[in-house]
Amino acid sequence: MVEHIALVVNGQPREGDVEPRRMLVQFLREDLELTGTHVGCDTSQCGACTVTIDGKAVKSCTMLAVQADGANVKTIEGMQAADGSLHALQEGFWAKHGLQCGFCTPGMIMAASDLLARNTDPTDEEIRHAIEGNICRCTGYHNIVAAIREAASTMRAGATAPTTVTA
């Protein structure tokens, strides 16, 4: 048995036929080949699969693909501008060494994007609270907090200094 779903992913209309048990993260990774969204656990603890749905951070392993029918989903692959310039959060993580192995990074950036949409000038404590659902095992969070603080500052200044990457 399959269900047909239609949704917007990173600004593009996408459709698919999915088993009812298929998680959104599986649909993104395997059907749409958006492998930037990662799976780090099986109990919705780690947050590596975090995407935004209508701007709100959601762990895509806690949501069935059929539940995302009609939704507006953004993944890490949708964070760069159309011209390829990096989002301030991507710049911040790069500049402040907010990542090591990079596995938690996409989810961390998506969770932080939700925070900065709600709070443009968060304190360290607010940043740490906002990313509590995302586990990083490499950085001890120190530089992730600095990266998000930096991105918030950049976004407040409205002065993005884009760097084009062709990774």
Partner: protein, 802 residues
């Protein structure tokens, strides 16, 4: 450096690997999709200890999408190798290692029993449920000390009393005499509890058999693809080494867990051949990982520390039960012996040290090297013991440490617990150190002199404040092959590293390395080094690794060895490049090679600076080979292998400050100060990041993380919902500082840094909590300091006083 190229060595340049990771274009194992790929799932034992009467796979074979069901008896290959026994000519190791799939019995929950290959992962998992295994459940034992007692459940016929080995190091008679004659002796039982390492990317493999060439390719999330090829070929499968290619894609963290040879690596090879050469992928789930990937630590230790009332420590005696799990992992026995027993005296000049270590089988997941591997356990023992000793004689903890430090003029220092093994007349020494400046810096930063005031102020808020010191030393950069070989610690594995540098016709440089990153930024740091050595921009260099085809054989990355051993190999290769370029420049410029000076990327005739060739011009001409002098070979392509003469010896002082709520027992880490001496730094930003991560993992052990088994061998902390990994809101920002004592054994003066944080921080936090609880009359409480543990300790102390 001249020629207008900015020298990036020692600079905090942004990482070259980051663009792919921050845009979601990293390529980890589970991101790889191959044409025709099928999926493997493993049925794992629900029992901690059982005999297998039979396995009936008939129903599973008929399930939708199922291509094959594999049971242990199908695979004639050897059990996994155990490559690092407890060393010494008189030490007997009673070895039992896992088979690819269990045949007769299972020894822990999670040991693999059968496997299914199916078109989709879901079909494979569904079919596991249709496999009928007839188990005969047996009683289990999970505690290493209890497992050695008479009457305990026995796991293996070849290991009476579940003992893997009894190993000793140091001078027993001298140490016992020192203890007998001491003014003060303090004894304590210390539990260094079991941890589950939890890299964010779980493990996985893809096996691909090529029926046309009879060759195998295995993608694996591994720290050591070259070693795995060797082990899979020579020890497990019997397939010739040149017919196996191992590739590690981007690795999402490892912390030691991905050093080892796991059954699944061989299983995907077997399965791919079984299904006619279709690629077979296996990726563990997180819950599965808790049983199928190694755990760390798990020591029960009895320590005796003896000394004088003036603070001088005269002897340390240790007895440790090291839990190694139900069967042995690749280097399980090496960790609590060489990497633990030989460094128990830490940074102190203690004349008499003796340790006995008993490795033990229990019905638990196998235990092997987790970040620090033996050295955090040793640091925990000696740093807790120093505090207990200081408290017993009523002397300041910092002063006791200061009094016993190996003094700066005593290096090279011959450690009495056995590091100074003579090798062909040479010895391995603690080659450098200067411990007081780091201690002093940390004490000032922490406000140590104001501790009484801080405690009094906290008390007014209902908080017990504690400050904990950890003056650690680390042996890392493993290292000299002669040492590993000489003390009989291994199967003959060397510990050198390799690098190949090719300067291509256009002047672009490809560096291939035998090491293997898991988040440490090797592509950046090696680029910085080679840019410095060759005088070229980092952008002209690409660093490749992780594929046994196309990279020189290397031993991989673990034991904080890449910066010291790998970098030196890269510098040696660059030296060869420069030497050949200089000789060819002489040919081009019609000068003597001795008259060519190398300034950055320019090769100039001394005294005639206008007569010069750039590295790019030299590479172009040499790679074309139209005009070659004498017997010079074309192309600029050099490989170097480097075996270091010694390990490196990072050290430092970490101080943790905690506040405990006296009513609830909740412990908050309020400040963390770390002054580390890791020698010179290739990229200080990356070094700090390594320290941060290690510190957080060590704090995690002290405060929250613990693997808990029920008496029946069930892993009660068997998911991320139950195993408490540190979260952002639980940790403070870290306050880092440094001293710099360059390592004398490598040209960069660098030491390892990957493990230092984890080695130091657990003891710092444990000492802080015990310091906070001291005024209640509590001498020692074991980790982890959850609210429940601390509350119970407080209640027990108050009850005792009431």
């Amino acid at each position: 450096m001249a020629t207008g190229v900015q020298d990036v060595l020692g600079s905090p340049v942004k990482r070259v690997e980051d663009p792919r990771f921050i845009t979601g274009k990293g390529r980890y194992l589970d991101d790889i999709k191959l044409t025709g790929m099928v999926h493997l799932a493993i049925l794992r034992s629900p029992y901690a200890h059982a005999n297998i009467r039979s396995v009936d796979a008939s129903k599973a074979k008929a399930m939708p999408g199922v291509l094959a069901v594999i049971v242990g008896a199908d695979i004639p290959w050897n059990p996994l190798p155990m490559a690092w026994p407890a060393g010494g000519s008189t030490v007997k190791n009673n070895v039992s290692t896992p088979r690819i799939l269990a045949t007769d019995s299972v020894k822990w929950t999670g040991e693999g029993v059968a496997a299914v290959v199916a078109e989709t992962p879901e079909q494979a998992i569904d079919a596991l449920e249709a496999i009928d295994v007839d188990y005969e459940p047996l009683a289990a034992v999970v505690d290493a000390e209890k497992a050695t007692q008479p009457g305990a459940v026995q796991l293996h016929d070849n290991a009476p009393n579940n003992v893997v080995f009894d190993w000793t190091v140091g001078d027993k008679a001298g140490t016992e005499k020192a203890i007998a004659e001491a003014e003060v002796v303090v004894r304590q039982r210390l539990v260094n509890h079991r941890l589950i390492p939890n890299p964010m990317e779980v493990r996985g493999d893809i096996g691909l058999y090529n029926p046309g060439t009879d060759e195998y390719t295995v993608w694996m999330s591994s720290q050591t693809p070259h070693i795995q090829r060797l082990l899979l070929a020579a020890f497990v499968t019997g397939i010739p080494e040149h017919k196996i290619r191992c590739i590690s894609p981007d690795v999402g963290g490892a912390f030691g867990t991905k050093i080892f040879c796991y059954a699944d690596m061989a299983l995907v090879m077997w399965a791919s051949k079984l299904v006619g050469g279709r690629p077979v992928k296996w990726v563990e789930s997180r819950r599965e990982s808790y049983g199928s990937t190694i755990h760390g630590r798990d020591h029960i230790t009895y320590v005796e520390i003896a000394g004088k009332r003036d603070g001088e420590v005269t002897g340390v005696k240790v007895k440790t039960f090291a839990n190694l799990g139900g069967r042995l992992s690749t280097i399980g026995p090496g960790v609590p012996t060489t990497l633990y027993g030989r460094v128990l005296s830490g940074c102190y000049k203690i004349p008499n040290v003796y340790a006995e270590v008993t490795g033990v089988y229990t019905n638990t997941t196998f235990v092997d090297a987790y970040r620090g591997a033996g050295r955090p356990e040793a640091t925990y023992v000696i740093e807790r013991a120093m505090d207990l000793f200081a408290n017993e004689i009523g002397m300041d903890r910092a002063a006791v440490r200061r009094k016993n430090f190996i003094p700066p003029d005593a290096f090279p220092y011959d450690n009495p617990s056995g590091l100074g093994i003579a090798v062909n007349g040479e010895k391995i020494y603690v080659d450098s150190g200067n411990y007081e400046p780091a201690l002093n810096k940390a004490l000032i930063a922490a406000g140590y002199d104001d501790l009484a005031k801080l405690k009094a102020e906290a008390k007014t808020r209902g908080k017990l404040l504690g400050m904990g010191l950890s003056t650690y030393i680390e042996v890392c950069g493993v290292a000299p092959s002669k040492w590993i070989g000489a003390v009989g610690e291994g199967w003959g594995a060397a510990m050198w590293e390799s690098s190949n540098i090719k300067v291509h016709l256009t002047g672009k440089v490809i560096v291939t390395m035998g090491t293997q990153p898991q988040g440490q930024g090797h592509e950046t740091t090696y680029s910085q080094i080679i840019a410095h050595e060759l005088g070229i921009p980092m952008d002209d260099i690409i660093v490749q690794h992780s594929d046994t085809q196309g990279t020189p054989f290397g031993y991989g990355s673990y034991g904080s060895r890449t910066a010291s051993v790998g970098s030196t190999a890269a510098i040696k290769a660059a030296d060869k490049i420069k030497d050949k370029a200089r000789r060819y420049a002489a040919h081009m410029l019609e000068a003597s090679p001795d008259d060519i000076e190398v300034i950055g990327a320019e090769y100039r005739v001394k005294g005639s600076p206008e007569k010069k060739k750039t590295l790019q011009e030299i590479a172009f001409a040499l790679d074309l080979g139209f005009s070659l002098p004498g017997d010079m070979e074309p192309y600029l392509d050099e490989t170097a292998y480097y075996d270091t003469p010694n390990c490196t010896w990072p050290f430092g002082t970490h101080i943790a400050i905690v506040e405990i709520d006296e009513e609830t027992g909740e412990t908050e880490l309020t400040r963390y100060i770390a002054v580390d001496d890791v020698g010179k730094k290739i990229n200080p930003m990356i070094v700090d990041g390594q320290l941060h991560g290690g510190i957080a993992q060590g704090i995690g052990q002290a405060l929250w993380e613990t693997a808990v088994y029920g008496d029946d061998g069930q892993l009660l902390s068997g998911s991320m919902m139950d195993y408490a990994l540190p979260r952002a809101s639980w940790l403070p920002n870290f306050e880092l500082d440094e001293t710099i004592t360059p390592s004398p054994v490598n040209p960069l003066g660098v030491k390892g840094v990957g493990e230092a944080g984890a080695i130091a921080s657990t003891a710092a936090v444990a000492n802080a909590v015990n310091d906070a609880l001291g005024p209640l009359g509590i001498r020692h409480t074991d980790m982890p300091f959850t609210a429940q543990t601390v509350w119970r300790a407080i209640q027990s102390a108050k009850g005792a006083r009431a």
